[in-house]
Symmetry: D2
Subunit: 296 residues, 4 copies
């Protein structure tokens, strides 16, 4: 979407580096419309609430009702309620902006497209690749239910999903991992959401670097999962930290959607759909909460 | 959408009171699909950033990048950025939950459906009509560009839009205000967004009670505008406070979408479209920020 | 201290109800000066930092350095750092305001002095008994090292300290529990601060109702301890919740200082001292963090 | 105060660089005790409340009562209130930590003592010169009522106080600016606190670099004022930004206490006193709110 309000940041000359990498400008094309059969809508968001899992060190979740109905009698007979809401963006169902992940190179950190972090990071956040640049996301989506494909309720803790796993799953479930697709991987880890937060946050199954390469080669638009990170967690001991995030986001401009709720979609065996996510345009932020949907 | 995860709160017996009033369960029906012609997507969200307008007394906007790339050398060669984000829900582009507005009756406050506030309000917010119950919102939308209809760039400060204004505008612009529609009213006040915040927040044009009655009679699904309140502001001196909010939200279950960005839509004279908004499921909250879109 | 800036709230007619109960107006009298021998100063505050214990359900601790040195080159050659700081008042070393605790009576909650909560509680906090009314606190202090008196490093989990314990300890340590004294009780629980937070927060030794009565009868000014609550925790199963807080704060206007650091004081066997605490004047708040000191 | 809990940060080898510069280890010496005559206590803190002045760009003030009496019926007959409290440290009565101000040198920022900022700044704040190192502050204090000395209610906007002004004032008011003193400068600007916040924040009278040099030569312990910055504001156009902060804090280790309430002290013409301030030990923070007192 050529944003008509905000010029692209200087370092991003149109056409050279794109702020959201492989996510295309939004258009509801005839091809996408063909994905809609019954018109049934699936909500893919986990509820934001106290007790939801997220990594230690993340900022706190706050939903504090400071203004209660009855507080402002001067508005009578009307009455208003309001709250303080502080949401830890990288906990709960969210999308990573490309500014979330960088890579050290020659003594400094670079973001996707070779942007040098020190030139774009400040007290108002990131002046490039921030969440305000997110276009509405309207894509063909496929569900790769890897857990079901392996005959499991949930994948084993810290299981590393390979390219072969993804290829086998796609084949068995009859979907193609085509360029421009939102690939949604189900591990079954939603089972631990609020029932075993430590396990949800620290032992997630997810693509290993082989699985990530497989996806990048197919030129997908984004990858999502029902885990806290779209990445085998902890990552392999003999490799570098966060290899999948680094490879997909920094090198390939393929961003992540995390902590999705996929149970209803899986139960109905919906493997192909119209995928819509509408990130909030939070200036300078490294991501946004979203309420994504699948339309079958 | 019959939510498969969260049972409806006790006081809301299915079929008797609906948590989002006139917003229907989401389904992308053939009728809605017919609204899509070019497939062009319009973003209707204002950017969330320092300096955006919102009423005094609302909680603060915070976007503080506390974790910067380079802070965690133990992750090298990867690098992570993160922020504290606190968003004042009722400032910026957002939707009101039905729990946002109540009405005094017999010495206590009632919400839509006769829910007594004192039974549902606590330190975790509202146990009924909270934002977590929002379904994905997929509706026929119409733009009533009242400013353009009157030949103005912006409506006069505090102008009260009447039923006759709305009827005249719909007629001239060739759209029907049918049941189940998202009615989006353009006043032109986006012109004052960040250029004259005091005016934006304190002098908004909007429906008066006559305009609100006109909309309710047509059984619309929701009403939105490019102002901070979908309501003439300040409200008429000889009447009660917040008459439009009270009438539409409490009495009719017709909620509000506020601070929309409608300039591109207006410029292209798009008066009918597919309207999609996906509120975050923030448990107990009185609303949610959204990034709504129109698809023409 | 007759506050020269802020008139006492209406419901508190001077001389009838005092906003800080038994805490006297501050004056450094000759009697207090006599307590100073060596002039040695002991800091009684635990450090506020991530990983410190506090009860679940309390608001989050946030210390996020959003503005870093180097962020504002326009100030060069000067440079400024700043942070977002959110402190959960009732975690860490703090003092309870009298507005922190109430008691149900005839279907409504009353604060100390019979103040009806519903008349004084609103979106800006408590209009009476709020922390802004705290005077500087300058008192004779005594340390009752109950753990040492019993020959223990730490009192047993959930131990209820009785009046007899306090009397015995005071006698053995040669101090008098005189009217107007700040009575500081050492349980040894600081050992669990950050080493076993669950135990610190959920199993604290502290006065039971018998111990509380003993203190109130002696007309002390306030009571402090090295635990999260000045109260046996959990409280006795066959009694009401929070009996000590209710009895001391609501009925007697004797407030609490919690999570004190007393190890150096205990090591030096300093049992009598000049006690100074200077609560922040946070309008409407139910308490304040403090950095209390003992001067021997 | 040799802190018995926390070892000094590595870069600060005891005796070489002191984390609080000229503030001495606390001891209530006979010399200090002699300052106490009547024992009268003066509170020097402004109330923390909505509507108080602080610079734009500072983090927000939040005091939101999220947990109200009556919310937890399971505690009946007891009842508890609590709040979210977020205090902008550098607004309201506070003390700057030495980590608050740095100076560019050879392409990087240095703090007091030549500490290189890039080695000590991270997501948990400053690992040296943070507020947790503040000792209790117990000093001889003098009030230099420059406004009264000049026969004015308030000094002119942006007036730069010179060394000659300070010397003249001290002479006329009969106090000596001796080494180790807390020098408290009264400008009268408290008059604009909450009555003209723009003026309070943007036009403060304060020492210019000449005044600052005069103070540093006398080896004072700290300097405070009734303005938002202890510095002529805006600073002289032909000089560098923040010259006084840089000179006193970075070069001399003389920190600042800001936004003091001095009206009662001035009215009673108390020019010499025992000064006590007890900063909160907030790990890594660049300052702390305080409730300082003067005892006459």
């Amino acid at each position: 979407m050529p944003d008509d309000k905000k010029p692209l940041a200087d370092p991003i000359r149109a056409g050279e580096i794109r702020s959201f990498g492989k996510i295309p400008s939004p258009k509801l094309t005839p091809d996408l419309l063909e994905l809609v059969r019954s018109g049934e809508v699936y909500s893919l968001e986990q509820i934001l609430e106290p007790g939801m899992p997220f990594w230690e060190g993340h900022p706190p979740y706050v939903m504090a009702p400071y203004m209660r109905h009855g507080d402002m009698p001067e508005l009578s007979p009307a009455s208003v309620g309001n709250e303080i809401t502080s949401l830890p963006i990288h906990g709960g169902t969210h999308i990573d902006a490309l500014s979330h992940i960088g890579r050290w190179k020659d003594g400094e950190v670079e973001l996707h497209g070779g942007i040098k972090v020190k030139e774009v990071m400040g007290r108002e956040g990131m002046s490039v690749h921030g969440a305000e640049n997110f276009p509405p996301i309207i894509l063909r989506g496929v569900l790769l239910d890897v857990a079901a494909h392996k005959g499991l309720e949930v994948l084993p803790d810290s299981y590393g999903i390979t390219g072969e796993d993804l290829a086998g799953c796609a084949g068995a479930q009859g979907v193609e991992i085509a360029p421009g697709t939102a690939v949604i991987i189900r591990t079954g880890f939603a089972k631990y959401w609020r029932t075993d937060n430590q396990r949800f946050s620290n032992c997630g199954a997810g693509p290993n670097i082989d699985g990530a390469r497989y996806l990048a080669e197919r030129k997908i638009a984004l990858v999502g999962s029902d885990t806290e990170a779209v990445e085998q967690w902890p990552f392999a001991e003999d490799g570098p930290p966060l290899p999948v995030h680094t490879f997909l986001i920094v090198e390939n401009g393929i961003t992540h959607v995390e902590s999705l709720y996929l149970e209803r979609l899986a139960k109905d065996k919906v493997h192909q759909f119209l995928f819509i996510a509408l990130p909030l345009r939070i200036k300078g932020a490294t991501g946004s909460h979203i309420h994504p949907i699948a339309i079958a």
